[in-house]
Amino acid sequence: MQTISNRTAVTGIGWTAFARSIDRSVLGLATEASLNAINDAGLTTADIDGVVTYFHNQDSIAPRQLVQALGLEDCSFQVLSALGGGWACAAVASAAMAIHAGVCKNVLVFRAMKGNSERTGPAKIAAGEDQWAKPFGISHAAARFGPHVTAHMDRYGTSSLDFAHLAVSQRDHARLNRKAMMTSPMTIADHQASPWLIHPFRLFDCCLRSDGAVAIVVSAADRAQDTRHGPVYIRSMMGGTLGHQHGTLHADGLWQLYAKRAAQKLYAGADMTPADIDFAELYDPFTGICLMHMEGFGLASEGEAAARVRAGDTGLDGAIPMNTHGGLLSEAYNHGLGHVVEAVQQLRPGGVIDDFCEHDHDHDRAHCRQVRDAKVGLVCGECGDSSLILTSGL
């Protein structure tokens, strides 16, 4: 087990609305989500003594800007990462480490962006590692991730139709999520009729672009009993990566991502196996990549994730409910912190708060997205570069 296991917990979650265009500043969105998370924890800004955030192509603010906006007087540690969606769970891990080290008591983790209305782009030069990709027309993430999926399709026979089943499943989940952006029904035929973007990806294989912010509060587990909802325990964490960008230049099989390596250490750090996972919120920039994450983390055998999805195993009543909020494909593009929030919602004693259940959860899938007996949740960032196992109890 990791020595940090069960020593820290997520105690607060908050978000703004998600939309194609929000006419407010990134700082304003970050502040709102953060205040919501702090309030959700039953804490005040005076209790926050650490701030962690991450961005991609400099599309967000530095932690100190939020320190100023929240009037934090006592910030002991800040972390800013440029590593984007791969770092989503490492952001939580960073907060946990600061607490476990005794440097901080309650750390705010946020991700705020105007990912659709104010798209930042990479620099218009091809320097450093970019000189091996940009001159050849790779400017969309689909062109960077696509070769992994093409190789997976070639090796295992995964198909565009398989991707359709995943997209439809996640759209069904999003329709039970009050904050989800995409809630109109999607059929297999709709997916197959959507235009090719960058083969093997159609439009409906690709995640959304959106504006909005998400925040969570991480606290010491032995102080979390005093918070409003109590602790969701962080049992295991990983935050490494393959040396090459997306493993694109890796000599080993392109059909595997870092997830496969991370999984071994994540489960060992939790003293668990994939069989212990009740549900999973797996980074879904593209349908095909999400399937590879399932396999990487042992929730399906190599090449078998598509079959599990087709069989309904990843539905809310399936053996391994997945992306129960709709994910990046249908909830919003919040760079993976939304996956952490969903896991926490599922694991809390009162369960999910923003589906359409009026009172207690009845698991009627016309209005309820609460997973039955959710005790252990897996969350991962892009390529499985970072991951967490969260639990409802010890």
């Binding site: 218009k124 030069i125 091809a126 320097a127 450093g128 590692e129 970019d130 000189q131 091996w132 990709a133 940009k134 001159p135 050849f136 027309g137 790779i138 400017s139 969309h140 689909a142 062109a143 696509g146 070769p147 992994h148 093409t150 190789a151 070639d154 235009p195 090719w196 973007l197 960058i198 083969h199 093997p200 040396g243 694109t248 230049l249 890796h250 000599a251 392109l254």
Partner: protein, 134 residues
């Protein structure tokens, strides 16, 4: 063609781009452990020997994977849609895989396992490697 973003050669990669200008692909072979490395680097990533011998390669290779870009997101490639971006394992340099374009008509005739050969496109300052099926 509309202009792609040109690479910025640096201290590590300049010999590669000079080789392209002279009409050949090359990669570093470690004089100590004899393994090829990519991307170019001062130190061997396997044995950490400082230095690498630039070795001329035959210019042929095999497609390991690819995408077909149907919608232009890169301004420099607007008039090339649909175009192929591929990962190519280079002959003569075990483990060296580079990213490039495969010039093939129609674009969806590209396949994993296809054999390809380099040709260089002169952009004025840089000679960009591109590949064609053989």
């Amino acid at each position: 063609m509309s202009a792609p973003t040109l690479p910025n050669p640096d201290a590590d990669s300049l010999p590669f781009w000079d080789g392209c200008r002279a009409g050949y692909l090359s990669a570093q072979k470690c004089p100590s452990c004899e393994r090829f490395r990519w991307p170019p680097s001062e130190f061997c990533p396997f044995c950490h020997h400082h230095g690498g011998d630039w070795t001329t390669l035959p210019g042929t290779g095999t497609i390991r994977s690819f995408v077909i870009v149907d919608r232009a997101f890169d301004p420099g490639f607007v008039d090339r849609v649909p175009y192929v971006v591929a990962h190519i394992a280079l002959d003569g340099a075990d483990g060296v895989n580079i990213i490039s374009n495969v010039l093939i008509e129609p674009a969806d005739a590209v396949a994993i396992g296809q054999r390809v050969m380099v040709e260089f496109v002169d952009t004025g300052t840089i000679a960009l490697p591109q590949f064609r099926p053989v």
